[in-house]
Amino acid sequence: MFNNSKFTKPTWLSISWLGLMLFLAVFGSLLPFKSWKFVYEDDLGVVPFSPGHILGTDNNGYDLLASLIAGTRMSIFIAVTAVSLGGLIGSALGITAAFVRGKVDTVMSTLFNVGLAVPNLVLALALVSVLATNVDINQSVPTWRRVMVLIVSLTIVLIPILGRIARGATLSWSGRDFVTAARSMGMRDRQIIMKHIVPNVLPALIAVAFLAVGVVIIAEASLSILGVGIPDGASWGGMIARGRNDLEYSPHVLYIPVIFLAITVISTNQIGEVLRSKLDSREAKV
């Protein structure tokens, strides 16, 4: 399914953009920039494309390019970790439930339905706000704990979504003849799952995982705008939240992270859609 000969131009653009984002996320700290927390006291609210500040600075004197690189690392890290964890746990539960059937499946489906009964963002919001509670209201929660809480909450939100997709895909595959054949040849359940079910279910999950990365990036930004995400502008959502404060005089502080976030989400959606349509055409041939 991943033969790359038929990718169109927008798909290549999306792949390169995501590649660039991954590069910034992994190697951003090695680039020759000052820390994003460095305050340029003489350059407050500089517009983009100024000498020394390609993307300008905000009204506090933070360089926006440096902030963006730090934000990319945080947003991509949260999104990739949450989707991988949610995908692993969700698909393990979903595949097992659909393969074993019976009571296990009933319980698992009910639990998935419980997760899906609360709208995504409401669930994430409730989990994040409760898990990141401090005794003293004036004492701020350390950033690493906020990141952990965000990842855990978003993972919990993703498990039923991805789990249900894995369950549905497994149900349609486990009834096929080759599974019956493998079973009649005395293959163990675990082997059947690893050799026959997982390779068939995986492509669909990967396609959905790309879409999920976009969803998680937006969710993280939404939580930051609501004030329960990453504080101080260390992520794209945090930058957007901070940019809201000086909308009137330096709107570029808001535009730049919004544009980065939107292009990234467009790219993940494009790749997810392409993978899904390739999958559908493969399914049609079977």
């Binding site: 409401v122 919001l125 609501l226 989400v265």
Partner: protein, 321 residues
């Protein structure tokens, strides 16, 4: 299985799901490593906290606390907002906020559908041609831009630069219908962008499939006009999918509305949740989450039953699963 038994089973499932959701929410509150009474009234004295603990059953253990909360909830007592001395109840707040949120969602759905239906019909009619390709590409980008980004850009351009619309607040009908819609326009636009894209793509795909049906060829051979075939023979069966998915997108809409409501300060349910979190009024948060899930799950159930009545095929298909 008889039809009645089938729906009875569905209703039982829904109730079990809701019980687990609400129990999970109250368990989550009890898992906080901090004393809940201290969080609810940070400036109160120890005796006041003790009264509060007795009042809401914090000293009863998780199951006792849940049962007391559930009993109160069923009787319409959703707890209080203790921040302001415990005089305001959550149900009063929600009674004020609910209609606003429901109006916002109703406007959003109506607006999104009234844009998406013509677009979907045109692009299905011109499938694969230039008009269709342009619409599809624009919609793909629209679907990917989050609502809050559109909201913030609208605020900069329409609210601040052009100063055409108010950027904050809400106006009731009694303050003038024109004022009301002026306050609602930007929130509705920001919420409906993504929905328009979803609905149009769905309608397009469904209508293209319907266009291949034999009865369409039959209608064409009878010499009916394209317009009549499109709307009467193709749009009508395809619209069921569209309206079902419109109803099912309510969950995402509620989530999106929290952010949009807090950006525009429209004081709806979403804003209520935001305020509960900001003021650490977790009892209010627990009740709001319960109300939203209740609303959402029953809405889905009604849609399920409704679409079964409108289109018997879906009913049979579901019954077989």
């Amino acid at each position: 299985m008889s039809k009645f038994n089938f729906w009875l089973q569905r209703a039982a499932q829904v109730i079990i799901v809701l019980l687990i959701v609400t129990f999970g929410a109250s368990l989550l509150l009890r898992l906080i490593p901090v004393d809940l009474a201290t969080i609810l009234i940070p400036n109160g004295s120890e005796s006041e906290r003790e009264i509060l603990r007795n009042e809401i059953g914090l000293n009863k253990g998780p199951i006792g606390y849940y049962l007391q909360w559930l009993g109160d909830f069923v009787q319409g007592d959703l707890g209080k907002i203790y921040f302001s001395g415990g005089t305001e109840t959550v149900s009063d707040h929600l009674a004020k906020a609910m209609p606003r949120s429901l109006l916002l969602m109703a406007y959003t759905q109506v607006f999104a559908l009234s844009v998406a239906i013509p677009l979907g019909v045109i692009s299905a009619y011109r499938a694969g041609r230039r008009t269709d390709r342009i619409i599809s590409n624009i919609l793909f980008v629209m679907a990917s831009i989050p609502g809050f980004a559109i909201a913030l850009i609208l605020i900069i351009v329409v609210g601040v630069k052009l100063a055409w619309l108010p950027t904050l607040g809400y106006a009731t009908y009694s303050e003038g219908i024109w004022e009301h819609f002026k306050h609602m326009l930007m929130p509705v636009l920001s919420l409906s962008f993504g929905l328009i894209a979803t609905y149009t793509r769905l309608l397009r795909a469904d209508m293209i499939a319907s266009l291949r049906e034999d009865y369409v060829t039959m209608a064409m051979s009878k010499g009916l006009s394209d317009r009549r075939i499109l709307w009467k023979h193709v749009f009508r069966p395809s619209s069921i999918t569209l309206f079902t998915s419109a109803a099912l997108s309510m969950g995402g809409l509620i989530g999106g509305a929290i952010v949009i409501e807090s950006i525009f300060a429209t004081y709806g349910v979403g804003f209520e949740i935001f305020a509960a979190i900001a003021g650490r009024q977790y009892i209010s948060l627990q009740s709001c989450v319960a109300v939203i899930s209740l609303f959402y799950v029953f809405f889905n159930l009604v849609v399920d039953i409704g679409s079964g009545f409108v289109d018997p095929r879906t009913r049979d298909r579901r019954a077989n699963v």
